[in-house]
Amino acid sequence: MIRSEILREIAPILRDQLVVCNIGIPSQELHAIDDQPTNFYMLGTMGLASSIGLGLALAQSKTVIAIDGDGSVLTNLGTLPTIANNVADNFILMIIDNGSYGSTGDQPTYTGKKTSLAGMARAAGCDNVVEVMDVDTGTALKAAIAGGKMTIMVVKCDSGNAKMPVITMDPVVIRDRFMKAVEA
């Protein structure tokens, strides 16, 4: 499966949760598949989905799912120790690990070679780290939500992108409707 197929499959699960979605094609895909006020789309700032998600989870009690990518986590590796040492049990970091920089033309990342993000998360001190195959994403995500423990999911899948339109919504509108959904 490629990322967009996973997102389509888990959209009914994501719909009821606060979602912080990674920059570029992941946000475009989620926006096209199932736009919700509970989705915060990153339009720039590669690497910070996990940081924004953690800050949000620490600040309020609803479940937060940050959808990140292998390339983005690699560019902000300091996030893993920060997550490990500031546990928010309402936080799920779901890293869609397709071993490539999808938004820039599928250039390979190191996670498709020797580097294991699950291993790095564990070494950083994260307690609940699960590595799952693409077809098991929905089951694992439901279990993580029900578990009520901070969870790092590394979802191994194929490289590739769906062709979706660029998000033209104004960033302040995205942020404002998201904050209203957080408060609701």
Binding site: L48, I52, L54, G55, L58, A59, Q60, T82, V172
Partner: protein, 168 residues
């Protein structure tokens, strides 16, 4: 006057309850003070752009955030300031140690000091410079201004403000 306590009191009085820090020798006292206050959740970050991400999330979760960092971090955070904090119109007080100014003992610090105000000006970030201890009296107003206008605001605090580096 205990500057560290005064700064922390102003943060608390302005309902700032989520503070991320990347340390600096000059900021050690205020970071320690913040760490001890029950009203503030202190979350050290490993890099300042990561810290700004944490602050953005906390703000959207209903908390008032702040970041404490060195001026060298302006070089690290330009993209985050432009495409996250400014683009989504989020408030962010940035208490910054202004290394490389008068009384600085480390020559390399001057290399970023000479760019600091120019970069902040280029980013249209409101910037205040605390040079003497009395300048701290403006902090309360600066914090209110930051959350009024929903912008990142820089408070540069130089070595003279902090009382120098001791005997050199």
């Amino acid at each position: 006057m205990n500057i560290d306590k005064k700064i922390t009191d102003d943060l608390v009085a302005n309902d700032i309850s989520f503070v991320t820090t990347v340390p600096c020798k000059q900021l050690a006292g205020v970071i320690e003070e913040i760490d001890q206050r029950e009203e503030i959740f202190h979350i050290p970050s490993n890099k300042e752009d990561e810290g700004m991400g944490l602050c953005a999330g906390a703000f959207m979760g209903g908390k008032r955030p702040a970041i404490i960092m060195q001026n060298t971090a302006i070089g690290v955070t330009i993209n985050t300031l432009a495409t996250l904090i400014q683009y989504y119109r989020m408030p962010l007080p940035m208490l910054i140690s202004y290394r490389g100014e008068l009384r600085e003992p480390v020559a390399c610090q001057v290399e970023m000091a000479v760019h600091t105000k120019a970069l902040l000006a280029q980013m249209n970030i409101p910037t205040y410079h605390f040079h003497t201890q009395a300048d701290v009296e403006e902090l309360d107003m600066i914090l209110k201004y930051t959350f009024m206008c929903n912008k990142p605001v820089a408070i540069l605090t130089d070595a003279n403000f902090w009382g120098g580096y001791g005997d050199q």
